[in-house]
Amino acid sequence: MLKRIVNVVEVLALAGFVIFVLLLFTDQPASNSAAAPPSSSSSSSSSSGGGSNSSNSSNPSSSSGGGGQIDGAAIYDDKCSGCHGSKGQGAIGPKLNGGSVTKSFKNPADEVIVVKNGRGSMPSFGDQLSDEQIQAVVDFTRNGLQQR
């Protein structure tokens, strides 16, 4: 009986490995699809439209209600929280909350460059996010994230 279970598990493991390898190639995110178009984001709260950038600053955690605004919070949840933590507390990536990000990047433009081009083990998002989206998420990390 145990032998039979082991055989089944081994077959499933083999299938899992094949799926794992296939997913590496087939599950590529389309550029700008994850956070850009309002309906295609995996985050249900994401909505954008291509409007301008830093208007999120005043109400950064939920600025997606109106038309044309980019939700920096939604982009953060989708693209950044996996490494930096949902509250910016840090994980694989460094801590961003508690003023850490403004301490590291006194000038927001420097943070924009890092998000756009990547640095060290951080991937670049220049080909996944528009300039406006990058600006929105940078604004969010500097303002909205601190309120979470």
């Binding site: 598990v9 493991a13 995996s42 693209k79 933590g85 994980a91 083990s121």
Partner: protein, 210 residues
């Protein structure tokens, strides 16, 4: 992997019999040098494949699975730890199969199956972790960050070593030392992976971090 440990289990019985005098010591089965090279090349190719993918693929930086964890990272931390636990079981059962330890004193019939199952489950638990590493984070080639650099190398090496181990179970005319060495080094690679991720996370970010 699926068949990996079958041969271990199959070799178990001979291993048990090792205690008996090796009557045919003079008649050594010829090892197949070509097979050995093929196995090693397959392992190297696997490692290179994942390393190349990690380098070439543009990391998405996105989250993948979270299940009941608060984040993908938490899931990875715990899945890697579960893999380590299963790998430990496999190592211990392997030691018993090879007669290196005598606990349990009486050889249980199910030991070979437990050995196979633990190895398979350890492997399965690494898959979602590796997927996120490769797909979302990529190969960290920045040597100025030794932790991620070593982690990336160990991750790629792990699957190559695993392939060598699997093949060395299935192909019987390989040198006798290959299977235990491949198994041990695979386990060591997993320990390096865990130390540079889960352990680091608990020490530097949060514990238990679920």
């Amino acid at each position: 992997m699926a068949q990996t440990d079958i041969a271990v289990a199959e070799r178990t019985e001979p291993a048990e019999a090792v205690a008996e005098p090796a009557a045919d010591d003079t008649v050594k089965p010829a090892t197949n040098a070509v097979a050995l090279i093929v196995v090693l090349v397959a392992g190297a190719a696997t490692s290179l494949f994942f390393g190349a993918y990690g380098r070439i693929h543009d990391p998405t930086g996105e989250t993948t699975l979270t299940l009941f964890f608060t984040s993908t990272i938490s899931l990875k931390v715990w899945f890697t730890t579960v893999a380590i636990v299963f790998a430990l079981i496999q190592i211990l059962t392997a030691l018993r199969l090879y007669g290196k330890i005598k606990v349990p004193h009486k050889f249980p019939k199910w030991l070979g199956d437990v050995h196979r199952l633990s190895g398979t489950l350890a492997f399965v638990f690494t898959l979602p972790v590796a997927f996120h590493c490769l797909w979302a984070l990529g190969f960290a080639s920045d040597a100025s960050d030794p932790r991620t650099y070593i982690h990336s190398i160990a991750g790629c090496a792990f699957y190559g070593l695993f392939v060598v181990k699997v093949l060395s179970v299935r192909i019987h005319d390989l040198p006798k030392w290959l299977l235990p060495v491949a198994g041990s080094v695979t386990f060591a690679a997993l320990i390096v992976l865990w130390s540079t991720s889960s352990l680091w996370y608990w020490q530097n970010v949060s514990f238990p971090g679920v």
